[in-house]
Subunit: 462 residues, 2 copies
């Protein structure tokens, strides 16, 4: 990665005149912003800013642009693909102090928030209204970050991803223009879909400062279940047949035996250490009971056994927090290691085949590689455990991931279902998109001719 | 509108060398392609072509581009906003012979089709597999046209619009490049959302030649209902409260008393001629029964009475075809008239207010103006009946629509929920989008620097 360069002192002066002590060059803070949860090396920004308003973001962008200085938006740093690394130095725009919930429109089932609001913060605020924001990538990410990476997670199978759940955005472009991408109505056919252009753009086309998201009524009943299978294929096929039957399952996670072992050790639970499905059903009492019964029947046909139910909120929460710990639990399989995360997604008809071929590859690997994922979407993750200083481990992990991505692409899949491209995957986009990648480059150059907005991410510019 | 100009004979020769007798300059055929279902005047293309493959579309585009000749994609001509009018002359690319269903991926719940396949054709083909494509704008439009206008319709409240239901597109750009916008996996975080950029672009950025759409399992049970209200507010509030309660209603249409009168006359039915809701529920037998009961209870609280049920497929189909006839039925309220259609959409919390203010405006109008719409989305239509040769009627209708659009924009709504911008609404985009309209112009100029792709539509270029 490029070496950070010294910032012009007059640039710093201008930022300080704008933001006062909400500009810092402290090494500790720059280090915190030069790293995410990926294994990629530190790449520190030269300064970190903390704007409070869209107008401050605009003014900071205008200053940085005049000095041709890169700008990197930062939420809470939970990216797994190096999105926040300052690979060309520059100024990090930390959005975490833009954390105001601006408007809850309960009747419209939507909320307008500043980009630094996290999903848990929003849910805390709306729970008493009987509302929820369901998109749940595990980490308590900011909604701006989630929009920027087109995040999803365990219940996308029912509620969709950020693509489907962002109604409108406020974005500041590199030239300082403030854009509102859409009105607040639930649908519109009025012009190009600017909202979707910025959702998933990873800060490379502008900085998102406000997000309008859809909310949902908290279902009358929610019920979760755990079910073991002899093989992972049985778990996957249970989910496919459930979707085929039109059963509106809310969550369906498959976990391999090794992941279950890691979860048991980490969470002190006693689940069967076999391929397992975590399921969840949302609806009325009666419809949840009916869905549960139908899925139990399908699971039994595929060798599922030992259903355990969790209907109380605290039991369900315990189950899903345990699931969300899979990444950290996996790390503890071999303490002292770090993780290379993978994120392919394939059409679900190819999922079993993709997972089984990957399982064979796992057997040949020198390190433990737990597998788990959102099977209803065809998206699964591996956590490849590597020793921090081992070049061999890293090379092996990279080669493994290359084979995995190639396998997914051969099955009409994608190199990233939900983590995004960031710094780590941009070269895969060429194989994935072919000619279309040139169009993405054109869009990037049109919106950001001097390559100042989160440079080095998403688009494989030469 | 600009006068059509003569086509260069060598352009015609080149197109004939490519497509043989699938190029025509016959006046009758050009007339058929120079008009849609709007009230806008004829604007004939200079020639009409009928490609069969993506490559033929590419070759035709390459020829037209060399002659700097506009290209207008055409599905089946059911637009209500003049999308297909050849307002600068040029060559219409009629996609209706690209009507092959290329692949049904039943396990993945998706289908790959040529852009000229209509929604009914697709549904015929997949019904025996227990699958359906639910997006239903009324007309039997092509899927390419529906994607291009971001169409939706009666059951968007449950299944979303084309925005949510297109997985991938094949598009030919003006420079002849063939772009596949995405892989076939259900979700992806790999780069800019090119799919959504072309969905709703109305052929102004390229011509869609293939569409991959999501399919759904046909529910075990579907049940429709008709319920009358004393006032339209009761109908709207019933739907709002239903959504608030998280009841997954599949369709919810409100119709005013005048629309019911028109429908009765046109379809020889005997519905109450009062404000009415048409509802539909999808699910298992038990969940449909439960949903129906819950909604009936909510409706009663808002003055709903006289529920009539239709559970058999033929009864349901009759009900919805009757609803789809609202536009034609309305025309018969005053035979010999033509219609100015409106299409605003507002946040649902403002819907009652918007409809009531509009109802007052209707009372002051000199012509009959029936009202109906997809209240679950906040989207409703008026059919303003004007005498074909009356400049006064047209001026009154336009002024009425201006007040309506302004009212919707003041309520954070949009000038078009689903009909699109086309030729008729592009000047409204400026009021609706503010600064963002400049970004749309930039996108248009980047993709189509010589303004050859469906010129004069969507983007208000100066």
């Amino acid at each position: 990665m490029n070496k950070p360069r010294e910032l012009d002192t007059s640039l710093l002066d201008a930022l300080r005149a704008l933001l006062g002590d909400r500009v810092t060059t402290s090494r500790a803070i720059r280090e915190h912003h030069g790293k995410d949860e990926s294994y990629y090396p530190y790449a520190l920004p030269d300064a970190v800013t903390y704007p409070h308003t869209t107008e401050e973001v605009r003014d900071a962008i205008n200053i940085c642009r005049r000095y041709r200085t890169p700008m990197i938006p930062f939420g809470v740093g939970t990216s797994l693909e190096g999105h926040v690394l300052a690979t060309s130095g520059g100024v990090t725009v930390d959005m975490s102090q833009m954390n105001k919930i601006l408007k809850i429109n309960a009747l419209d089932l939507d909320a307008v928030v500043q980009a630094g609001v996290t999903r848990k913060q929003l849910n805390e605020e709306i729970r008493h209204m009987g509302l929820m924001f369901p998109i749940d990538p595990g980490a308590d990410a900011t909604l701006g970050g989630m929009a920027s990476t087109r995040a999803s997670g365990t219940n996308a199978v029912r509620y969709g991803t950020m693509r489907e759940n962002v109604l409108s955005l406020t974005v500041v472009l590199v030239d300082g223009r403030i854009i509102k991408t859409s009105r607040r109505s639930r649908k519109s056919a009025a012009g190009y879909d600017l909202t979707r252009l910025f959702v998933g753009a990873e800060g490379t086309l502008g900085i998102i400062t406000e997000v309008t998201v859809r909310l949902y009524a908290v279902p009358e009943a929610m019920s979760a279940a755990v079910c073991s299978f002899k093989d992972i294929g049985g778990a996957v096929n249970t989910v496919i047949q459930t979707l085929q039957a039109g059963i509106p399952i809310a969550r369906s996670e498959a976990l391999c035996a090794l992941t279950m072992k890691a979860l048991n050790a980490y969470n002190k639970t006693t689940h069967q250490e076999q391929p397992t499905l975590f399921l969840e059903f949302h609806g009325t009492q009666a419809s949840v009971a009916e869905q549960a019964e139908l899925v139990q029947e399908i699971a039994r046909e595929h060798g599922g056994e030992g259903f355990q139910w969790a209907t109380k909120a605290e039991d369900r929460n315990r189950l899903w927090s345990a699931r969300h710990m899979a990444y950290f639990a996996a790390l503890q399989l071999k303490p002292g290691t770090r993780a290379v995360s993978t994120d392919v997604c394939v059409p679900i008809s190819r999922l079993t085949e993709c997972i089984l071929a990957t399982a064979e590859d796992i057997e040949r690997a020198s390190m433990p590689i737990p597998l788990f994922g959102h099977v209803g979407d065809g998206n699964f993750h591996l956590v490849i455990l590597i020793r921090p200083e081992s070049a061999e481990d890293l090379a092996e992990a990279k080669a493994f991931n290359e084979r995995l991505v190639k396998r997914a692409l051969d099955m009409e899949g994608t190199c990233t279902g939900e983590h995004g491209v960031g710094w780590g995957k941009k070269n895969w986009l060429i194989a994935e998109h072919g000619e279309a990648i040139e169009l993405m480059k054109t869009i990037k150059r049109t919106f950001d001719p001097d390559n100042l907005m989160n440079p080095g991410k998403l688009v494989p510019l030469d």
